[in-house]
Symmetry: D2
Subunit: 375 residues, 4 copies
């Protein structure tokens, strides 16, 4: 019999973007059911959203405080909460969730400050709860293949890493038009210290760390704001040094007209290199020294187990963003079941990003802002 | 409140491929729930599969006959049945389903003979029931954009159409190894008259008809079997004439090593051309006479409503095969609701392939086989 | 000391396209010098063109007849003549050249009729002269790599070949505008039996033969003219059978808006496949069964000698059309020197297309026209 | 009558790479003839090389000093000298050439120090002579199209520029194997201050300046040497600030396995963006805000005159590196003729890089080295 968890969502109501992504990503594998929610910032809108999603009105809460208080008293309380609010509320919500004994899946970046992220990490540790942070791009099978190849030493020692995350949608002053997704991302109160840096630069940082296993030793960052009147950076370029002597260049920008969601990674090692791009996620290009480049593809030959278990349909039948996102949830659900049942977490569970990644991401934002201020 | 239908699945049990695709495609939008099934060819395996999927044992049936008989007597009978068995049983199952008043979603190719497809079409018509055939590739937003551009006359009168569907997985004698997916596809009893022709050539035919609105006037086909011992074609090339004087070349092959699921369409008109490929479904290349080619993309500028309503997430966040498949089910569910409630079917419902497409596909197979035999 | 031949050109004067291509292709390697010519159809224009090219007025001839008569009497007579006139004059010019003892380099298609080509072949054989036909696309290093891989058996027995040559420039009635390149190509008197078929279809035929070593056993062709008033085909689709049981599809069209000079080849064998496209000539994609595709590139690892000797500059420094064309001339000059000096012809000389290829090409045109007429 | 100049080459003898490139680039248009040379570092090898190239032994000189002394006394003295020696001798050779009244075409980077380049610039100015520096990548038609589009304001004010030049051939210690091209490039005595920085980073700097018209206001550079024992950088990453407030990222590396000659440019402006890559030089991708990207191609619609006059053959017939290099020489020859005859230099002449570009490039190297030392 299928082991299906129940979960609550905080945020993600009418007009939100990422909440629906989380719900679809979960429903793809049908291993958890949304049964409760505090879906919007006002009780009225929350209830309206809950009705549209078909939630039991009794479990449609007006606020996250109410949700935690009442859910925690139910026998059929939800297993986990999915937190998809703007950044500023991540910390108080996740903290209260953990304090009430709920596993947490948190959108990135985890928190505004590294102190907050540290606290969440400690709390999750103490309580024995999962605190997963949805660095969703690590869910792509070919990103996992890349990670495995580096870890297996196929490329030799890593020398140079290029990661870029370029978008174009904020090349104009979209926030003044009232576009909600734009507005909160450029507002320091909601978004925190970083604009493009926090919103997408952290994904690039995380992808580097995931694939190469390398943390950043030091950064030289230049944050810039091109659209006048904007309070946060919309463009950042970072030179990176890694502990093993490797060097990196990370750029994140939201003013690159013509770019959709251009997250790309290149890793150059002593013996070989790899290329991966989120917009064509099914392929991984690998070149070994003195050999012709080889194109690996999802579902194709030569893949590691991590890639295989992260794939749902055969080669040539494109998977995409939702499937990758779903892999994070698959791992999170596995992790929660393992905590519940006491077993060894599955490999899918081992691969997911946690609050430790979240903490590292927030520190990266802080380092870049400090570096750039000193310029 | 969400309008969620219930459905039964016939076929798609343990070890099947396409059944899971159908279930995932449906669950992506969470608008129908699997509540009953006759999932395998034996009662034992059916029950086992049903248990794994979490079905109520009371609605896990040992055969499709049992399913239709018992479900049709329930007050909470399923709205529709999804038929994902090998080709040979499509006709009797769909016929019985329609006779018992169930809407049907049928995998392609619809039936073995055009007479069978005609009968299903008549039956569906008489009973006022939906009989949808899952030519799933027409669910891609950019294929729908292509269709709209041709219909709107942007390319002028269509002159030449190239459609190809090339795979490589049957380049060797996979069926002898016991691989189930291979075995039934090359067995005339299960697959019908066509091998590659029926399995994938029909998708190419359907895509041409969907995008250009053109039916085939006549064909000159050459079927060939490259793998010795195989009873059906594994390669087919077809020269096509269309009623408007246009010409076409359709090729389908399963012996093209290095090809995954290479369905590609090119349409050349008097004023412009378009290119689309299923393996990179997010882009549509369009070239107008004396202008530089333009790359349209899902979620990007200049899209028609049909593309927009068929899209779930923003540009640059890749959608794929399951989302396209899900669009067929979205339309089917809309169509069923419209039939139930009496309203005008939604645009999504109008876009789906029906048994009329299925019939045309079976006739195409018959024409090609007749043409090739006469060579 | 450098061994530099002298040559004459017939055709290729002011306003011509292909003559300049031939001259540049030769000058790239600086192994032959243009010293004489009958460059246009009238003596005046010929002389004017000769002056612009800096020819000695004494060797600027008013007609090809005059050229052959007078050059053949000089001690410093040219080694070879390059014939770049429209198709209809190829035969008489080449015949007279050979009769006067000149080696010939002839643009394709060789002649109007296969009887003419046979006669040229016999004449060249009898006289011990070179008659090279510039199927220039076989000069590309990666086309030569492809040829070598097939010959070496890497792909196993060839099963299916796709060759296409699609252009868009004749999608409209360009000939009525007085465009010279268009006008003669659609005029049966100049162009012969085939329009797109002769002009570009023959290149596709030749590329198939060059790479696979397979001649066409039989064809089923459909010629069509889309632009009204045009006397020759502007679109042709051909189903091909090869003696070894392989099958092929060859399409050539000049009404494909958005296509520039789209010559592409795909070869599928029992063990592997290859893909090559003239517009991205530096790469050759190869996929072996159950392996990931590998991208070979000019100047890169794993190349055969034929590719290496056909390359001038390192990998990543793009070579193109003129370099490939130059390789045909390099081989022709080598062949002429070998005939003069009595040695074994170089490998470059062995790789060039001759009147035998030209003859096969004309036969292909005749076969297709015959097949299409019978439809 | 054709106006053909004569020239001498210094360096470029047996075993050299770039000398042959220069000669082929010139011969492509047949507007200058090599008649003299000091082709190698020893008189014997020079003479041997001269013989192979078919030079008159009387004009085969043992040293550049001899060449200038004796050529300057001839009535038929060469018009210009092409200097293709390793970097360290550029300055003395070019200086002596200019002092003897010869126009100079100099390989890049121009000199070891900016003081030397300044002196050459002054000398050329004073003497009224051309001193062209072969930043050959600016000769590509589509790079010139890009330049024109930026200058015409199509992209609006430039905000962010990415230029990269990545190669992989020095990922291993090739210099120890005695490979000549590697050896001098990593030797500070020959190469100067920069390794990858000077060899290829300067091309990236020049391409930015050429296309955007922007000079570098300040740089933050990180030079690194990955291959142990190497005396110069093999990898450099530079953050750039431009006077108009734009930002840039320039990376140059020779340790990127799998990269051939990967020079790429991206320019993001307030209203649009463009992408160009040297390895696929025929295409230029342009995206305007809220519009779909358009692919311009050489020979295609919508090109400026600068692109058109820099193109030799039609769209779809690939041009490459030699053609682009030839465009620099075409312009240089035009410039020399204009100086000789007193007319206005042609547009081709106006587009070529001169010693002013060379000077800016050397300053860029100096700035980066200074910046990196201070880290």
């Amino acid at each position: 019999m299928k082991d299906r968890l129940s979960y609550a969502m905080i945020g993600g109501g009418i007009g939100a973007f990422i909440g629906e992504v989380h719900r679809r990503a979960i429903s793809l594998d049908d291993r958890a059911e949304l049964v409760a929610g505090a879906l919007s910032s006002t009780p009225e809108r929350s209830r309206q959203s809950a009705a549209e999603l078909g939630l039991d009105p009794d479990r449609s809460y007006g606020s996250y405080e109410e949700l935690f208080e009442r859910e925690s008293k139910r026998d059929d309380r939800v297993s986990f909460v999915s937190v998809v609010t703007p950044n500023d509320s991540h910390y108080p919500i996740a903290k209260m969730a953990l304090e009430h004994g709920f596993h947490v899946v948190l959108d990135k970046p985890a928190t505004h400050t590294s102190a907050q992220a540290e606290e969440l990490a400690r709390l999750a540790e103490t309580k024995g709860l999962l605190c997963c942070v949805t660095y969703n791009y690590t869910g792509y099978p070919m990103a996992r293949q890349a990670r495995w190849m580096v870890e297996a030493g196929m490329l030799g020692r890593v020398r140079k890493v290029y990661a870029e995350y370029h978008q174009g949608w904020l090349a104009k002053d979209l926030e003044s038009s009232g576009q909600k997704q734009a507005a909160w991302r450029v507002d320091p109160k909601c978004a925190g210290l970083g604009g493009a840096l926090g919103d997408i630069g952290t994904h690039a940082e995380n992808l580097i760390a995931f694939v190469t296993g390398l943390e950043f030793e030091s950064v030289h960052a230049e944050l810039h704001t091109f659209v006048s009147g904007r309070a946060l950076d919309d463009d950042v370029s970072v030179l990176v040094r890694f502990p093993n002597g490797a060097r990196g260049v990370l750029t994140a920008s939201q003013i690159c007209i013509g770019e959709g969601n251009g997250l790309k990674l290149r890793v150059h090692g002593e013996r070989g290199s790899l290329w991966w791009a989120q917009e064509t996620p099914e392929e991984l290009r690998v070149a070994m020294m003195d050999e012709n480049p080889v194109v690996y593809s999802r579902g194709g030959p030569g893949l590691c187990d991590d890639a295989t278990i992260s794939s749902r349909i055969p080669q040539g039948h494109p998977e995409g963003y939702l499937e990758a996102f779903g892999n994070i949830y698959k791992g999170a659900i596995d992790a929660i079941i393992a905590k519940r049942d006491g077993g060894e977490p599955s490999r899918m569970a081992q691969l997911i990003p946690t609050i430790d990644d979240g903490l590292r991401g927030v520190r990266f934002v802080e380092q870049c802002v400090a570096s750039s201020s000193g310029l």
